[in-house]
Point group: none
Chain length 437, copies 2
């Protein structure tokens, strides 16, 4: 079964709102094993809506339309669809009663416009709206109607009309629509996630080239994020068990090829969460000493619930004086090498661990721009040091982009280097060595 989404609303075309409905519906299709190849947005204009509805019905089994069910003159979805199909519109008394009740409860009078919201195309199935006024509408096209769009009676498409406000749409979907659609789909899609850090998208793509470009029933799709590549592995089958069986060997193969760069295979686990879990597993406390990233590394770590067990304090040492006074960077080092240098960032990681008594310290100093760059130390140069139980690793990075992008790249790289240094620290220990016990 294929579905496509048509969102109706001039406010989306003006960029006033982001189209979260399309993303929500897309994820819901995937859950139900429904493939989706197109999403369209069109304004509150009858001719253009007709054009889009017609195109969609010709190529998809299910057209989900969101928006245009409101009470204003602009809201014309049901009218346009009814006209295209040649169906009459009738008042649905139950919906009308609900709308009246809504106004009565608020001590307000129902306007004539609201009556339009209870008008339903003949023969349609009504989907109650428990969070708003406009009911949803589901139409199974007849064979004759299907023929208008080049479809046979056997392949007659469906049209589902949902209200535009996201809260109404999602509630209606969850409580009623998902159940209705499940009966139509035989297929189940199963997908797994492999999250990779510290490797460029192109590098990952090259290592997995045969898997990504393979035309097999299992697809591998890479998505780049700052410092990360997320790989989605997807297969569809008659039941979840069979689909899982197709996906699992690929996840294993990808993990084998990418090794330690894979930080999780959990959909909901973020990079910072993986780092925090690694710290927790090894009973390591952590601190941060940040200059150009100014608190953002700590900010990401502290986004992980339960971090309080291992994160006690962090330092934002933006000035040279703060670096000296708060975490004991040597005046001589600052004078000789400058604040943005391997030596200073090393001393920051040492001092932060010393003063906070943390096992692990990460320190960052860099030139985020737009000013402050020199030929020797250009904007984008960032030093990161990680101190794991006294063993300090320092790396230099060269990031592109504006101030925000340089800082975000530095934050991601700091988390990645922390993870790498902790893993290496423990891989170097021979059997019998135990730390923190």
């Amino acid at each position: 079964m294929t579905a496509e989404t048509l969102c109706i609303g001039t406010e989306i075309l003006l960029g006033n709102i982001v189209n979260t409905n399309a993303a929500y519906l897309a994820a819901e299709y995937a859950k139900l094993g429904i493939s989706s190849y197109y999403q369209t947005v069109v304004g509150d204009n009858a001719e253009r809506i007709k054009e889009c509805v017609s195109t969609a019905l010709g190529r998809s089994d299910l057209l989900v339309i969101s928006g245009g069910l409101g009470p204003t003159q602009d809201d014309i979805t049901k009218e346009v669809v009814s006209e295209m199909l040649g169906r009459k519109m009738n008042i649905d008394e139950t919906s009308l009663k609900n709308i009246k009740l809504f106004f009565d409860r608020r001590g307000k009078k129902m306007s004539a416009n609201n009556k339009r919201q209870a008008m339903i195309p003949e023969g349609a199935r009504i989907i109650d709206n428990n969070n708003g006024l406009a009911p949803g509408v589901l139409i199974n096209l007849s064979g004759k109607e299907a023929a208008k769009f080049g479809k046979s009676a056997k392949d007659a498409p469906m049209i589902l009309m949902l209200p535009g406000p996201p809260a109404e749409l999602t509630a209606m979907w969850e409580s009623q629509v998902a159940g209705i659609l499940q009966k139509y789909t035989g297929q189940v899609i199963y997908s797994a996630m492999v999250k990779v850090c510290g490797r460029a998208e192109s590098e990952v793509a090259e290592i997995l080239d045969d898997l990504i470009s393979s035309k097999s029933e299992v697809t591998v799709a890479p998505y780049a994020k700052t410092g990360e590549v997320h790989l989605r592995i997807t297969a569809s089958a008659e039941d979840e068990k069979s689909a899982k069986k197709l996906v699992k060997p690929l996840v294993k193969e990808i993990k084998n090829r990418l090794g330690d760069s894979v930080y999780t295979t959990q959909e909901e686990t973020s990079l910072e969460q993986a780092v925090v879990e690694l710290l927790l597993a090894n009973e390591l406390t952590v601190t941060t000493a940040e200059s150009c990233t100014g608190g953002l590394i700590a900010g990401r770590l502290i986004n992980v619930p339960g971090v309080s067990e291992i994160f006690k304090s962090g330092y934002i040492t933006y000035s040279n004086k703060a670096k000296r006074k708060i975490i004991g960077v040597k005046r001589k080092s600052l004078e000789k090498y400058g604040a943005v240098s391997a030596q200073v960032v090393k001393e920051m990681a040492e001092g932060a661990a010393f003063y906070s008594k943390a096992d692990v310290a990460v320190a960052v100093s860099g030139i985020a721009g737009p000013d402050g760059g020199t030929p020797e130390k250009p904007v984008g140069l960032v030093y990161i040091a990680v101190n794991v139980c006294g063993q300090v690793t320092v790396k230099d990075y060269h990031f592109n982009g504006n101030r925000a992008k340089v800082r975000n790249s530095a934050v991601a790289s700091a988390l990645i280097l922390m993870r790498q240094c902790i893993l290496e620290y423990y891989s170097r220990l021979t059997f019998g060595d135990k730390v923190n016990e």
Copy 2:
């Protein structure tokens, strides 16, 4: 001139990401006076991309395609468009050099895949990418090419291909594309921005009701952000002068009605920038003492270039011990009132100012969740204290939402309270009083 957006990416069709590019582009078209009637999303599939490109070129003057310029086999935008137009693809040496340089700087080897990113359709204009590898491409269709899509030579459409990552797309648009397109549009749209903080959207909407719902040629559109409401005032005319003349009186009226809640009328000024500018103007240094926000307030302040003059150091005191040892919160206060209390957050703001010698200190302690809430102190309770030259203001807040939402709300509220306290501090001074001199 009409433009339409075609976003290419299976990850959008799977609902993995929300299509913010379409919203960004839509708002940018509006600014340039370009009408837009359609947005489409399609996956990484050559046939379906061709179908969408063909439809779009037949009905719009400008087709903006985002995505599919990456290094992987999935990225086929340029190849498909070139094939449709019958243009060859050539290596662009400058783009190739930039890509090589990117890898050289990182001490990495460029993969063969990345070379594809420097392949450009013959006769196209190249738009440099300063934030990533894939250059943008602008093609003016020839008369012969236009005819394929039912257009005359006079109405030959343009195709603009932009990279999918939002940071790259927006940077490229701002630095280059907007300027190029402005030359093609005759109408000028002028819009002004009024940014409001510390008032609910519904409150602002009520105060400005007559202006927002007026059907005049000038529109006032409110957009809610965390802790803020942004008002866009827009008019279009033949020239900028006439459009400005329509907009200016409304900006003045809105400022009159909303008073000090308006923190800027500059498009590019963020709330943190307004706070930093206020600090700079009054020669006040600033520090932060953060618990549940864990560095995010400092992180936002440090996003402002030039902040180094007034921000020297900040503290992340997540544990009770850190609150005591680093910024001198009293053990007794922690025991008696708890870490999340007016008293402790006051002492944090006092201690942070004392130890950092800063004029202004902001302190936050709260329960971000998901755990740690009690009936008396539920998840979402956050105390914020602002210390301006020894005068400390404490406020309690009750935020809704998950951990990330509570923390973001706390960060915004802290910035707003800082601004308010500094303004009040100076408004209380009578003539002749001077601070910090």
